[in-house]
Amino acid sequence: MPKAKPSKPLSRQTETVPQNSQNGGRFTRSPSFLPAVAEFAIVAGLSLVFIFIVIPAGTSPGGEIGLPPDLLPKAAAAAIGVLALAQFVFSCVRPAPDAEARPPVGHVLPLIGATVAGVLAVRFVGWEAGGALLALLALLAMRERAPLRLVVVPLAVAAVLFAVGEIGL
């Protein structure tokens, strides 16, 4: 696992913003404030959606005996909402460790697309052809252009899947 980069001190992470206040004071705003707001809005928002829409729509009220079926789902969703608030507060009151530098999400999209296409191919044309297509598309998504690999790997996958089917798994 790559080692996390040491975080910069808070003073370097802040920017000074002029404030139109009566005393002409200034305040500082951390650049991580907006991502923290976005994270809170998404997690807490989802928690509320689950509590008020998804869980009531997906659970029956239950009988007269015992505890209601929606007890734990609602408690869990509420706890997630509270923790999202706590995470937001912590993000505001102290600097969060720098996020690990990750490649842009665009790098992984072809691989996800290849997998989705492979799953659909399995659904419509069967395991052997679908698996071979998935292997081929995944190789292409990873920028593999060697003709030998592009031929041999999908064929090998198809052969293995055919054998699995023949064995009767």
């Binding site: 996390a4 799953v119 996958v157």
Partner: protein, 504 residues
């Protein structure tokens, strides 16, 4: 005694021994390959065991787990690329040793230290699990609920950078585990008319999706990023050095001490092999003698990390067998394997399946011996496997993920579930939400809900009854204290380094 004999007979059946051997081979390959972690490999291996007997299935998975821990050192020593996150600390001294022309010595040290740590931890498991289970049987629902809250708190804090995000992940896992039939009224819950969800979200789809599929996406992403930057892996040449008796005598105290550290890391839920290995390295470095050159090719550094790494898994099965609580993600996946074969881990396992438990114990010892033989014979061969390019690993593992989850129920629904959960896992991982904590929450979810419901019914919803349950109060207090401690330490450089965290 009779059960031990019967269990040993089961463990020495040809199919069980063959399963261990295959598991060891697969585990070594997985451990050596940098792109595939132990939990991911275990998740893929679980579906292979559907058609095996319980003892052969568990023996196979134990073989995979143990050997992947040992195999992870090969890449760390030869290529400076740990096959497992837990072998990352082995790079510190293993790779400099290889560069200095002592690769064989480093590889042998890693192997022997791994086997020693593993066998000692297995013996500790055999000695401790049953007494602890007897104690756990006296614990009521209130105590069980508080133990699980305590464990989730620890796991959440140690599996990622942020305690709150870790807790959100774990509770989200608990939430997803509630999908299916309500345990009391048997009414559908969050199924939205999807019949396949009546049995809950498929366990194998969740583990494979969250671990193996997510990891392949991350590996693919990193590979493409490196390709763009033009980063090429550094190769290492072989040498003719060998391990001598004076070397063995020199590292023996370090191996003993590190095994103890690994056992402790295994018993405490959430620590896992990566932290265990780094802690052992830190302890070894702290007790260095004049002349020891940690970080520059010190044989003790290799021995310390590998002994601890391999001691963690058997030790992490102590809480699993004693109270049904998986101490690491590998143990959580083993729970799914147990459940597929109709066995529920927990204190009652010693009453209900004594023969199976003793069979597993004997299989674990057999696995250790197999690991030594396979590791010794294939020392240089496995070093070559580490050079298989990731571009060939990812497509093949993706196909294996699909096939594996399909085999669980023979439904494409499981494949779709894996895809959705895999993408969810990728997003969670990208934004600092631990998939490990999610999975442990998901696995202990049904047991947690049952204990919580029983606790609420027994106490009539009155928290004052806690006064009569000191063990429950103690665990809740420890959970609270742990939360405060981890929150205080959750500052840059204050907590356990991110590099030492990883899926257990």
């Amino acid at each position: 005694m009779e059960n031990l004999f019967l269990g040993a007979m089961d463990a020495f059946e040809p199919l069980a021994v063959f399963s261990v051997f295959c598991g060891i081979l697969l585990g070594y390959v997985v451990g050596v390959l940098p792109g595939l972690s132990r939990p991911a490999a275990l998740a893929i291996a679980v579906p292979i065991t559907y058609y095996l007997s319980p003892i052969s299935a568990i023996a196979f998975l134990i073989g995979v787990t143990k050997a992947s821990a040992a195999g992870g050192a090969t890449g760390a020593i030869m290529l400076n690329t740990p096959g497992e996150p837990s072998s990352a600390a082995t790079c510190f001294d293993g790779y400099p040793m290889a560069k200095a022309g002592q690769a064989t010595k480093a590889l042998k040290t890693a192997l022997f230290a791994s086997v020693f740590g593993d066998i000692v931890a297995t013996l500790v498991l055999i000695l401790l699990a049953k007494p602890l289970a007897s104690f756990a049987l006296r614990m009521g629902p209130l105590e069980m609920t508080s133990v699980m809250i305590f464990a989730l708190m620890f796991i959440a804090a140690l599996s990622g950078k942020s305690l709150t995000r870790g807790l959100i992940s774990g509770i989200f896992g608990l939430f997803l585990a509630t999908v299916g039939l309500d345990p009391e009224s048997a009414t559908p819950r969050l199924t939205f008319g999807v019949i396949e969800l009546y049995d809950g979200v498929p366990l194998v789809a969740a583990t494979v999706g969250m671990l193996a599929f997510t990891e392949m996406l991350v590996q693919g992403e990193t590979y493409i990023a490196n390709l763009r930057k033009g980063v090429a892996p550094e190769m290492m040449k072989r040498d003719c050095s060998d391990l001598t008796w004076p070397d063995v005598r020199r590292v023996a105290p370090t191996v003993l001490r590190s095994t103890g550290v690994g056992i402790a890391a295994g018993i405490i839920p959430g620590l896992g092999p990566t932290i265990g290995a780094f802690l052992a390295y830190a302890v070894a470095k702290k007790s260095a003698k004049p002349g020891d050159r940690f970080g520059e090719g010190e044989i003790k550094g290799v021995a310390a990390t590998e002994a601890a790494d391999n001691a963690v898994l058997p030790a992490s099965m102590i809480p699993l067998f004693a109270i049904g609580l998986p101490g690491s993600v590998s143990a959580a996946i083993l729970v799914s394997a147990f459940m597929i074969h109709g066995v529920i881990p927990g204190p009652l396992i010693f009453e209900q399946y004594p023969r199976l438990i003793y069979g597993i114990y004997v299989s674990m010892i057999v696995a250790s011996v197999c690991m030594l033989l396979v590791g010794r014979i294939g020392l240089h061969f496995f070093a070559r496997i580490g050079r298989v390019p990731i571009v060939l690993i990812v497509p093949n593992v993706l196909v294996l993920c699909l096939v594996g989850v399909f085999l669980e129920r023979h439904q494409l629904f499981s494949v779709y579930a894996m895809l959705v959960l895999g993408l969810l896992g990728y997003v969670m991982q990208r934004y600092g939400y631990s998939v490990v904590t999610f999975l442990i929450g998901f696995v202990v979810g049904p047991l947690f809900e049952l204990s919580l419901r029983q606790a609420i019914i027994v106490s009539n919803g009155d928290p004052a009854v806690l006064v009569d349950h000191p063990i429950a109060v103690a665990f809740l207090f420890m959970a609270l204290a742990a939360a405060v401690m981890f929150l205080k330490r959750e500052r840059p450089g204050g907590a356990v380094e991110e590099s030492v965290r990883g899926p257990g």
